[in-house]
Symmetry: D3
Subunit: 133 residues, 6 copies
């Protein structure tokens, strides 16, 4: 797993654990809802992750974008699909989204190392258990 | 077509025509991009309209929400699908989204009059030509 | 109860009922959380309502502001206290908050008719049952 | 003066007076700063009003947009100049700005009735004294 | 004082001094207002700092959150009180607030080193003189 | 060129190239529009760059602010002019803008090293070719 991806996951996991251990009821329930909202329903997981990605992008939350990029990647969403979704986000949200698009693109590359090296990446296992933003 | 829907479409069409007639190049191109972004690509139109709906909702733009609700409805997206998308938007965007959710739900009802009266509604034809937000 | 207050409460109640009847699990739980978050905890209800008011104001959600103004009023928060909170919100959020401050001030006046006419107002009863934003 | 312009100015003046009479020190000083910020400095008033217009537009505050449109109009800024500024705002802020652009364009037309009817409009006098957003 | 806290305070102090030395009247007055807004009024300092904290959190400004966390800590606000306020902020602002909540929680821990080491921390002295955001 | 400026330009250039090579039509056109919007029109380049700077600042996008600061500097806009524009941005956007103002001021200093060392800086050449945000 790349450094960028690993650092993001490590920090998120560490702090999510602390937040959940803190036992604030509202925060815990929001984390719980966040897990439930992206499970299969009348919309499939792929569509929901794309919705989460675009929502995070137009609201310009880099960490939320990374989280959903990782899940999109895990769901087998292609780079072309991801970019079409991000194109809509950039159009709706305007050019202020561009710096976030740059960082998203870099993160996606880290999730998908270039083909020669094999392609099978284990990044996906990094995102388990606590899966709140 | 309901009054709510008709008023929205009439005002939007009238002002979009004026804006395009004004001939500001940047504005015209943004309108043009807005039309292109939601056409079929590697993602289908249904998914793209849901992305546009969620982006508009978390950014709390009632008119943009109405516009995408109308297109979602035209694409045959069901109320359950629309509500799952809006549920994600409300979770990501927080309780400040709720007033927009109320207005969105009301608008959706106007697009879909209750079954007894027939169900076949022609609202869909209202949204043609200029289709910028 | 003033027209402004009554119209706001009537529309909100009507649409909240429809949204809850719709049975989307995420939306229902967010409504439920919204009720719980403002109940007495280590912070008292007054403080929490002021927090909700300021959060709504800097995010510029008129309906959320009205909802929390009504609750603040019910909790016996004085106009001076409300205005100190709104002053902080205007400073943090900037002059774009001013139009919302104008509407908030007008709504507060409707909640608190001038003293000669009696002062005891029953507005407070209007906001029961569903109390999501 | 058109109804749209008159209603906007009347409500704003009425509520600004109430807010200033309320005597909250922070609010009063913010209003005062707001008056000072747009006076001639190393940047001229025209440029500053365009800055206020674009800031208000990307933050999607219709009332702030109207206020600055009125001042821009008073300063003799042409429709072409206003539209170039609004084009930048729409590009930076994204397509969610479009509904605000429609309302801005309508308001500008009300400030500038079509030439045949005379052209000399007295709208400008409406915006004096309190000039906070 | 922890590194995280010290770095934040050092950079803020250094740049605030430069900004004030720059002598832009509007900026100086806003800094001055910022100091005044959080002093005792009809609302006490504790409540005002919580309002500032929640406003900063829903607007997702990490540095503003840190600044108010430091003041909340200095005012003797407990972790439970801070977390109740942050729970409201997360609910109102949505799951995009979660990454900011993680960083806020980490910063609070740095302000409050674990008990064994003594507990009396001198962090509080770090935040004096210039106290603008 | 200072490290702060160089790092910003290097990362932006590298990622912009990748994004453009990716060949997503919507993204490419937005980049293209972004280049066109700031060219001379009825408003001059200086005014347009100030508009871009203020829009970026109130939307609190540090990278967009840096980009426009660099262009403003290149256009010969003085520190006093830049600060007047930023003062308006801080007033309109509120005290949450202050942390961005601190970083903007630091970046401007890097663009303009103190006079003794020569003054003639070549920073300006760094920003050519791709000039999207």
């Amino acid at each position: 797993m790349s450094n960028l991806v690993k650092e993001f996951n490590d920090y998120r996991s560490k702090m999510n654990e602390k937040l959940l251990a803190d036992n604030n009821k509202i925060v815990k329930r929001i984390f719980n809802l966040d897990t439930n909202a992206y499970t299969e329903g009348v919309l499939d997981v792929r569509t929901k992750e794309l919705l989460g990605l675009v929502a995070s992008t137009v609201l310009r939350c880099d960490d939320c974008v990374k989280y959903h990029l990782e899940n999109c990647h895990k769901e087998g969403i292609s780079k072309e699909e991801m970019m079409e979704a991000m194109g809509i986000a950039t159009l709706v949200g305007g050019t202020i989204v561009i710096p976030h698009l740059r960082r998203a693109y870099e993160f996606w590359e880290e999730l998908s190392p270039p083909p020669p090296e094999g392609g099978a990446n284990e990044v996906n296992n990094a995102n388990q258990g606590l899966n709140s933003n």
